[in-house]
């Protein structure tokens, strides 16, 4: 019996990985990127009927894989709950975390994570049924509030209501779906999470027109990609892949015209540098010259990703708002590619 045990152990351990110094080297050796995503969040990461992952965060995973490995399909998705995400990243089971995660001081410094910018500017809001006649979060005294446990929203809520001397009953759940069930059943009066999450949840209601998102945004929730402390090269890759997609929108590069623009150097030197027809930014990252081309070709620029997954034409129906380019009065901005 022992021999069988050992044999099976060996057979099953074939998928075992031996990590080395750099995440980039690991990913290249493995041939796939392991991307930590939300285990189920409409618009950001969810599975379709064939079990294929789709969504805003998932597109960034694809872009990263395209930039690093040249193929957007070389991604393994590792779904994580709010509770398990950091441990999965820190224990080396994922390469990068694209999972609507708020950048905070403690997470950055004390939990030993490395945030690589912001791919979605969010803020925590409240959603209530119109019937209740609530106009402001200040009217919520005595209400039952649905929240997702293990998130920053839970902490913001406690702070906000304590400062405003509002009494409330927290109704925690593990994921968005449970909260959705709770508020529809009337277990709570109000649902609080990031405004994007509220819109996405409302989109799945039978009667979205009867639900209103209150004007108060009680927190800043800059959501962005996370890597492990101490792997600067890999962090650079994640940061600049995200920047490349923003730059692509600034410069008018889309998934449709990127091949044409990358075929020969054009007039704009920044486009040339980004697309690798001039200089060699890719090599500095340890990547192929066409890294940005691959990423943009795979998922499009920042605006395209946004509109395809969560924009006004989708069921989620979010405005660009803070996530418009800085030139349009938003906050999305990239350091120069120089």
């Amino acid at each position: 019996m022992k021999r069988i045990l050992l044999g099976a152990t060996a057979a099953l351990a074939m998928g075992a990985t031996a990590a080395s110094a750099g995440t980039l080297a690991d990913v290249k050796a493995r041939g796939t990127l392991i991307c930590i995503v939300n285990s189920g969040f409409v618009g950001f990461a969810s599975t379709d009927k064939d079990g294929k992952w789709q969504g805003y965060d998932v597109d960034y995973c694809k872009a990263t894989a395209a930039a690093v490995l040249g193929d957007p399909s070389k991604v393994k998705y590792k779904p994580a709950t709010g509770k398990t995400r950091f441990t999965i990243l820190n224990s080396g089971e994922g390469d990068v975390l694209w999972r609507n995660t708020t950048w905070t001081f403690v997470r950055d410094v004390d939990v030993k994570l490395a945030f690589q910018g912001v791919n979605y500017y969010d803020g925590q809001g409240f959603m209530v049924n119109k019937k209740l006649g609530v106009k402001s979060a200040k009217d919520l005294d005595g209400a039952s509030v649905c929240i997702q446990t293990g998130t920053t929203t839970e902490l913001n809520l406690a702070d906000y209501f304590r400062v405003n001397k509002i009494k409330y009953e927290p109704v925690p759940t593990e994921n968005n779906e449970e909260s959705r069930r709770n508020i529809l059943a009337g277990r709570c009066d109000v649902y609080t999470t990031d405004a994007s999450g509220l819109a996405a949840t409302r989109a799945t209601f039978k009667d979205p027109e009867n639900w209103v998102i209150l004007p108060e945004i009680i927190s800043k929730e800059p959501l962005g990609p996370v890597t492990r402390h101490g792997d600067d090269n890999w962090s650079d890759i994640i940061r600049w892949t995200k920047n490349a997609l923003v730059a692509a929108e600034e410069l008018g590069i889309t998934s449709k015209n990127v091949e044409a623009m990358a075929s020969k150097p054009g007039n704009n030197p920044e486009i040339n540098r980004l697309l690798g027809t001039e200089g060699n930014l890719g090599a500095m990252l340890g990547l192929d010259k066409r890294w940005a081309v691959n990423a943009i070709k795979a998922v499009g620029n920042f605006g395209e990703i946004f509109e395809r997954n969560i924009g006004t034409k989708t069921p989620v129906g979010l405005e660009r708002g803070l996530n418009a380019l800085w030139t349009d009065g938003g906050l999305q901005y990239t350091p120069p590619f120089r």
Binding site: M1, K2, I4, L5, G7, A8, T9, A11, L12, A13, M14, G15, A16, T17, A18, A19, S20, T32, S39, G40, F41, V42, G43, S46, T47, D48, K49, D50, G51, K76, Y77, K78, P79, A80, T81, T84, T87, I88, S91, G92, E93, N175, N176, E177, R180, R181, L184, A200, A203, T204, K206, P315, V316
Partner: protein, 373 residues
């Protein structure tokens, strides 16, 4: 005597050759005897009927009469009927079963499952044709299954993170069941050992496993195990879960087997010793066959428990059937159909576990030798 019976006079209506009176046989008699034998019984029957009346008609209406079996999305479902929306289950059925396993390779999982029956057949039924040779296949089965599922050696490799749905429940459950039995037996023997150090280690291990919830152990396996490995190494998440689940089940099995060992009369041990058998010989030939036989109901119950507990892998982000169901609920097109999903999954588990418990009853009656120990 025969004379007396032929000549004896019976009061009218009591002759033994007459058909029994209406109230002493047939359906009415049965109802009277089984449902209405006393006032308490009448009360219980009425209460039972009332409970059935509360449960069955609404459930039937929801699950069948008003249910929608074909629709493209939730809103279409809602427009077609007020009941359950089974169309969703129908659409997602495949990923509930196979998870993320690549579509083109799914025949391999079915083949693995079919071969499983071939492999466990000879172990379960002793009138299996060519039982001896078939046993060899049973021994080789774990390797064959691993090869079929993971690929390599001519098959397209499939990563363990693509396993999901029912497939994952079955893999975790069956692996746990297979490997926990030998470990559990060793632990039970260790606990009954007369070497204090071995005994203490086994007792500590068993009590630790039995004292901590499985989700905590799974969480340990999924996130903390890498802290205890040399820096820079890690191994497959599914593998870690399998090891944890196996250890967990072996802790429980050890207790079941211990119960069996304790039920063996002292004389059996002494007889084995007096025959000059060594420790392992006496265990293998005399004690364990008897002890395991007594423990069969407990062993099968542990297996059923283990199989049900495979749903807990959802806590650490593996997508078993329940996990698949819950993540499907996040689909904007279908959101809000949790009852349908949960009931389908419950039904699936019920079929598997009920079959296992029936088999345990069959085995108990088959092995019943008539004398109680």
């Amino acid at each position: 005597m025969s004379d007396a019976s032929t000549t004896r006079k019976y009061p009218p209506g009591t002759h033994p050759d007459m058909p029994p009176p209406l109230l002493e046989s047939g359906a009415i008699y049965w109802v009277r005897k089984n449902l209405l034998s006393s006032w308490t019984n009448v009360g219980l029957t009425l209460a039972g009927l009332w409970a059935l009346w509360l449960i069955i008609p609404p459930f039937y209406e929801w699950a069948y009469a008003d249910a929608v079996f074909n629709a493209a999305d939730r809103s279409e479902c809602q427009s077609l009927g007020d009941g359950a929306c089974w169309a969703f289950i129908q659409e997602r059925f495949k990923i509930f079963i196979f998870g993320f396993y690549p579509e083109a390779e799914r025949w391999r999982t079915i083949l693995t499952f079919a071969l499983l029956f071939v492999a466990i057949g000879p172990l379960l039924f002793d009138n299996f044709p060519y039982r001896g040779k078939a046993m060899l296949f049973s021994l080789a089965y774990p390797f064959v299954a691993a090869w079929l599922l993971l690929g390599g050696f001519g098959l397209t490799p499939v990563g363990t993170d693509e396993f999901g749905g029912m497939l994952l429940n079955l893999i975790v459950g069956i692996t746990g069941i297979t490997f926990s039995l030998p470990i559990g037996i060793v632990l039970a023997l260790g606990r009954a050992s007369n070497l204090p150090a071995v005994r203490i280690i086994c007792v500590t291990f068993i009590e630790f496993i039995r004292g901590v919830p499985l989700i905590t152990l799974l969480f340990l396996a999924s996130t903390m195990l890498s802290y205890f490995l040399p820096p820079g190494t890690s191994f497959d998440l599914l593998m870690r879960v399998l090891i944890m689940v196996t250890l967990f089940a072996s802790g429980y099995l050890a207790e079941v087997v211990r119960g069996g060992l304790q039920a063996i009369p002292r004389g059996q041990y002494e007889a084995a010793d007096s025959m000059g058998l060594k420790y392992w010989q006496s265990m293998r030939l005399i004690v364990l066959p008897q002890a395991l036989k007594i423990s069969i109901p407990g062993i099968v119950n542990t297996f059923i428990g283990l199989f049900k507990d495979t749903t807990l892998v959802i806590i650490i982000g593996l997508f078993d059937m329940l996990g698949m169901g819950r993540s499907s609920l996040a689909d904007a097109k279908w959101a809000g159909l949790s009852s349908e999903v949960y009931i389908s999954i419950a039904l699936f588990f019920f079929l598997f576990c009920f079959a296992m418990s029936r088999y345990s009853l069959y085995l108990e009656s088959k092995l019943e030798t008539g004398h109680r120990i």
